[in-house]
Amino acid sequence: MHIPFCVRKCVYCDFLSGPASDALRRDYLEALRRELACEARHYRAYEVETVFFGGGTPSILEAQELTELLAQLCSHYRIAGETEITLEANPGTLTPDKLACLRRAGINRLSIGLQSADDKELRLLGRIHTYAEFLQTYRWAREAGFDNINIDLISGLPGQTPADWRDTLEKVLRLHPEHISAYSLIVEEGTPLHRHLGEYPALPDEECDRQMYQETKRMLAVQGYERYEISNYARAGFACRHNRIYWQRGKRHTADYAGFGLGASSTVGSLRWKNTDDMARYLSLCGAGDTAALREEREALSERELMAEFMILGLRMMRGISEKEFCDTFGREPDAVYGAVLEKYEKCGLLARGGGRIFLTDAGIDVSNVVFADFLPD
């Protein structure tokens, strides 16, 4: 569920999000509730396994507003008993009361955007909080009963040294979060960071960037975190179920996901679409109950495309893809489809096999795009 609002946009952010007036926020939530209601009929056969409030900064909403959204969801969709319900949150948008409310409302996982434990770096990124403020939020969350917390971090920041990064990791590890997402910074086109890159301290070179990446894996492993995806680490049993659905493609409808809200993406079987990202249009279509017209960029994925996504997304996970699952899904062995590609990259040590699975090696992760591109249909 997409909440495209935030207090202020960070310099590296290229998501569809921005500050909004109270009036717009109210209108948006009303539209989102209508979308949930109108779309429900398409999903009668489904049981919802995970819910993710993403943004933007969904925690910018009042506890009441989030509770109402969840209530709307529960009244129109079948929710499984053990549903993972994640809220993306930023320090500075939560209070102890609010956290307690959210926990009571059923939210059982928090994903807190910290990005760095260094206030200088936080300022550079245009974050709205300091490290101390984060610490406070984190403690409140624990006190409110959140026992599944993710912390988002970004490495490879302008001017960052491996020592700086180590420092952030050490501080975070002391908190024992269940999950850590550690992304290497991508300077996306269209962001202020991209436009004014020259005015920032130099980005770490590739060698340095990879060093930080390897360091992350090593330091987190010592503390019992397993890297289960290119940028994601978790203590045993705490891998994010929601995100795994994106990566683990499989038999028809086992990995379907429905996105609600402005610009949200859905994939159902071989169909994929994205909601309009025009706010005025979104509000008026939802208001008119014509949610079918929200769907844009519709595509029907071919068998070859589905296979490619199975491989590309599956290989993002460290355990890689199961040859048997591929076979069960498409009726053919991966080798029958990708024999040449697999052989080529196994030979140069970017892919490996074991236990009926195919996965990226450490070297393969660093240049995974090269490998992935070769799975795409011609």
């Binding site: 997409h2 993403g54 992304y183 290497s184 910074l185 991508i186 590739e206 060698e207 960037d209 990879r210 290119i230 940028s231 995100n243 659905i245 994106y246 990566w247 996901y257 996105g259 610009g263 949200a264 993406s265 994939t267 994929r272 994205k274 960029e297 595509e299 490619a308 996504e309 590309i312 997304l313 993002r316 140069c348 970017l350 992760i365 660093d366 240049v367 995974s368 795009n369 090269v370 992935f372 591109a373 070769d374 795409l376």
Partner: protein
């Protein structure tokens, strides 16, 4: 039109430096002499190829016939013969001039005389044409007509005091030009009763009529049914149609007789049979000797043209075939390259001609091309006495079999304002020029004369000239002869594999410098791979320069979640698409444009 008296025909052309307003003046003449309403006027009637209009130059000579009602009450036939304005097409220019009896010299009132103006006007005077000047662009604030008049008289030595002062663009002074054509250009001579002798000055292939031969009848007459013979090529044919040139159309007539300019068709299938400069005569009543000046067109610059997509080879062949129908100066033969696969070695009159052909192939035939470094024809004298004319560096025999090599040398004339003489002389020096002399042209300008190796000027000499003279230098050249030179083949090795398409011939003294720059350039062009790639330049197996493309360390998307998949997939697709357009040499993928890197070596 057979009744038209010879005395009322004027066959002429316009000579000018590029941009001095030749085409615009031609348009005005056509406009003022009627036969064409303003509505029919395209912006520039003579330049009817899209490409020409964009480049502002005339590639293929074209001709138009108009009728002028003169102030003396008589009707005059004007045959305005268009000439290409670039040094690559010198021979075509000379044949077009030979079809004329006079020429209008257009000089820009602000720019004055330039090297090309001189070259063209001397060419016209060499053909015994009566030349009269007009001074164009007099409405420009920077116009200095009096100064230009004096310059014309001093430098060229023709009377200029009563030269019409005109603005072709704004239609000023055109009437005066028309009267000057009547009075200053002589009527043609020649006797219609003599045996046929007609000069071919251009031709065009038409899929219905076959080759349309553009000719000037010097002696005799030709009509439908005349059995003609091309004296140089020996081809014979029966004339199907004769006529003259309307603006943009062919208008049939009864016959063409001595003094007239027009066309003939005879179901000729190949422009090679109707070489420019050849003489058409009556096969049954031939003239005694052909007209002087015929030369077989000789390609000066060669390069390999390869389809970017190997499967398009047949398309490229068809396209070249079609272009050659209209352009006898285009030469091609199949060749293969280890790096580039199947393609053609093509010969051109010069670098501009090469660029034009390349652009037409890409634009009109929708082909994506890889062009190898252009080179000239070297003469290789082997120890066994054999002489090879080398057009492809890959065919250079083993050094042990070579006795010596020769390269083509041109006579170059460079017109430059005196302040830039130093830097231009320096440039010529760098390009192994031999200084022949210098003439001052009134106070501020000089004509520099050099002998230069052709291979030093084919890539970028013109650009270098312009940049070192802030655009003021102009340049003209023609082939002198071949001279002994210390030449070597420079090979490029990528990841230790020699890439044949990147080899080129270079003077021994420039080999190191060129090799070094080539490696640097290729380093920029070749994307990083999963492994380190050495790029080496070598002469005779000895490496003289090296660069390294470092291995790629990181190419990974940190994030990819549900909302991102489509966008991230597009990134990967782009990456894959980019790879597809590359050439695989060993296990290195080389982008197409890297093969043209050698062209950009000197763009510092």
């Amino acid at each position: 039109m057979s009744q038209t008296e010879q005395s009322r025909i004027r066959n002429f052309c316009i000579v000018a430096h590029i941009d001095h307003g030749k085409s615009t003046l031609a348009d005005r003449i056509i406009e003022k002499t009627g036969l064409l309403t303003s509505r029919e006027m395209q912006e520039q009637v003579l330049d009817n190829m899209e490409l020409e209009r964009e480049r502002g130059i005339t590639i293929k000579a074209q001709t138009v016939r108009t009728v002028y009602q003169a102030q003396d009450g008589q009707e005059y036939i004007f045959n305005l013969i268009d000439t290409p304005g670039h040094v690559d097409f010198n021979y075509e220019v000379s044949r077009a001039l030979a079809a004329c009896d006079g020429a209008i010299l257009v000089v820009d009132a602000a720019q004055g005389i330039e090297a090309q103006t001189l070259a063209n006007v001397y060419l016209a005077l060499d053909h015994d044409l009566d030349v009269f000047p007009v001074i164009n662009k007099i409405d420009l604030p920077s116009a200095q007509p009096e100064w230009v008049k004096n310059e014309i008289e001093d430098v060229i030595g023709i009377e200029a005091q009563d030269a019409p002062l005109i603005s072709a663009k704004n239609g000023i002074g055109i009437e005066e030009v028309l009267e000057a054509i009547v009075h200053k250009i002589p009527a043609p001579k020649g006797n219609a009763d003599n045996p046929l002798q007609a000069l071919i000055f251009d031709s065009l292939y038409d899929s219905y009529k076959g080759v349309i031969v553009f000719c000037r009848v010097m002696e005799g007459r030709v009509a439908r049914g005349t059995k003609i013979r091309m004296m140089a090529t020996g081809a014979t044919a029966d004339v199907v149609e004769v006529g003259y040139f309307g603006a943009g159309q062919f208008i049939p007539c009864e016959e063409l007789s001595a003094g007239m300019v027009g066309y003939l068709t005879a179901s000729i299938k190949n422009v090679k049979d109707t070489a420019v400069g050849d003489t058409v005569t009556d096969a049954e009543r031939p003239c005694e000797s052909p007209l002087p000046g015929y030369k077989r067109v000789q390609s000066m610059v060669y390069c390999g043209l390869y389809p970017a997509d190997g499967a398009k080879y047949p398309d490229l062949r068809d396209a070249l075939e079609k272009l050659q129908l209209n352009d006898a100066s285009l030469f091609y033969e199949p060749e293969t390259s280890v790096a580039l696969g199947f393609g053609f070695r093509c010969g051109f009159l010069g670098l501009l001609h090469l660029e034009i052909i390349q652009e037409r192939l890409e634009r009109e035939y929708n082909l994506d091309l890889v062009t190898t470094a252009p080179g000239v024809i070297y003469k290789v004298y082997k120890t066994n006495g054999e002489v090879i004319e080398l057009t492809n560096p890959s065919n250079l025999p083993d050094p042990s079999e070579i006795d010596h090599m020769e390269e083509p040398i041109v006579n170059a004339e460079i017109m430059v304002t005196t302040e830039f003489i130093g830097s231009i002389m320096e440039l010529c020096q760098e390009r192994r020029g031999r200084y022949l002399g210098m003439e001052y042209v009134e106070g501020t300008r000089a004509l520099l004369k050099y002998e230069l190796p052709l291979n030093e000027i084919i890539y970028d000499f013109f650009d270098a000239l312009k940049s070192r003279s802030r655009g003021y230098a102009s340049f003209d050249y023609d082939l002198k002869d071949y001279e002994l030179a210390e030449l070597v083949k420079l090979d490029i090795l990528i990841n230790r594999e020699e890439v044949d398409a990147l080899s080129f011939i270079v003077h021994r003294d420039s080999a190191y410098e060129r090799g070094r720059r080539m490696c640097e350039k290729l380093k920029e062009e070749i994307p990083r791979h999963l492994f380190e790639i050495p790029i080496q330049a070598a002469v005779g197996g000895k490496v003289i320069a090296r660069e390294t493309v470092k291995a790629m360390r990181k190419d990974v998307l940190a994030k990819c979640y549900g909302g991102d998949i489509t966008r991230k997939k597009k990134l990967l697709e782009k990456q894959k698409e980019g790879k597809k357009r590359m050439r695989q040499i060993g296990n290195v993928e080389i982008p197409q444009k890297a093969f043209m890197a050698v062209l950009k070596l000197d763009n510092e």
